[in-house]
Assembly symmetry: C2
Homo-oligomer: 194 residues x 2
């Protein structure tokens, strides 16, 4: 009986597993732990594969950034639910997004985006569609046909507020949990209805 030295995976599967391992490493140790060695150990792959599938560490990081956005974009996808404002907020505060490991990924990535123009460009694309989706929800919520300038402002404010809540929940979990997050949004959103 001969045990195979390794398992061959399809390129898509292997690439996906490397990305997932990259996200796991980011959430556990931040950007400084994002090394080829750590990632490959977490993925059960050998060091050479990162270069083979992503051209290098930066390529994998960009892929990880895109992958981090995926759950967010899914949550605001048109085909989902009716997308009322309240439903949208509840969804964004759900355990799917408020998990500590997921938030740590964002913190690790944001620090890199701040000094990496390539990632900034990628961020801008996603951010715009994200904000547009929220602006449409607020417009509907206030009975408008199409988003007005007010809705864009409100959407930008909401995104900033949510980002801040995720941030606090990650670096000071005792001070910001789901209950406080709901209360914070409610107290600020209460009077925006005009």
């Amino acid at each position: 009986m001969t045990m195979p030295k390794y398992k061959r995976l399809s390129p898509e599967t292997r690439a996906s597993e490397l990305v997932q391992a990259g996200l796991q490493v980011l959430s556990r140790g931040g950007i400084t732990a994002f090394t080829i060695e750590n990632i490959c150990k977490a993925s059960g792959a050998s060091r050479g594969l990162v270069g083979h599938y992503f051209g290098g560490k930066d390529g994998l990081l960009a892929a990880c950034y895109g992958a981090a956005y995926a759950p967010l974009l899914e949550s605001i996808a048109e085909d989902k639910a009716p997308l009322t404002l309240n439903g949208l907020i509840e969804e964004l505060l759900s355990e799917r997004h408020l998990r500590r490991d997921g938030m740590a990924i964002w913190l690790a990535l944001w620090g890199e985006v701040a000094v990496n123009p390539v990632l900034q460009a990628e961020h801008l694309r996603h951010y715009r569609s994200y904000r547009t989706a929220i602006a449409q929800a607020t417009a509907r919520h206030f009975g408008r046909d199409a988003p007005a300038a007010t809705d864009e402002t409100l959407a930008a404010a909401l995104i900033a507020l949510l980002d801040g809540i995720w941030l606090e929940a990650c670096i000071a979990p005792t001070e910001m949990d789901l209950g406080r997050a709901r209360a914070a949004i409610e107290i600020l959103l209460k009077g925006a209805a005009r």
Copy 2:
């Protein structure tokens, strides 16, 4: 004429210069650029001094984190101005805090705080006094003698909102400038007055 090989500084001066250099490096290249070599080059010091004054890189990073908080704590210091809510907000949105380099420092640090318990403890101390100061301002703004639970919630919400605004202004400066930040806060704060 013999030119001295180096200049002797007092321990306090030298330590302070290393911290400033550390902050500069963080703002320019994020946490991955926070290396002894980069810091000492920026500071005009030699590599050995970081170990001598801070015990190592981690010690310097902790000192930099404390130093990053300094401007924030100054802005909310009791002895300053009357600390009305509007004045406080205007101060926190002023050029002193909304500078891109200063915000990049926060982004670099947050990613590290998320995975470093020592920095988290330090954050908690500062965060609490920060929030208390804001809660007192909101209490006064709404004519209450002492901060109520509502004020703490509102303060936490405001801090999250401001953090989010700083974040967006840093990674997507075209989408979040001073004008939009003001508008975002106004639209959300308009109805919180109850």
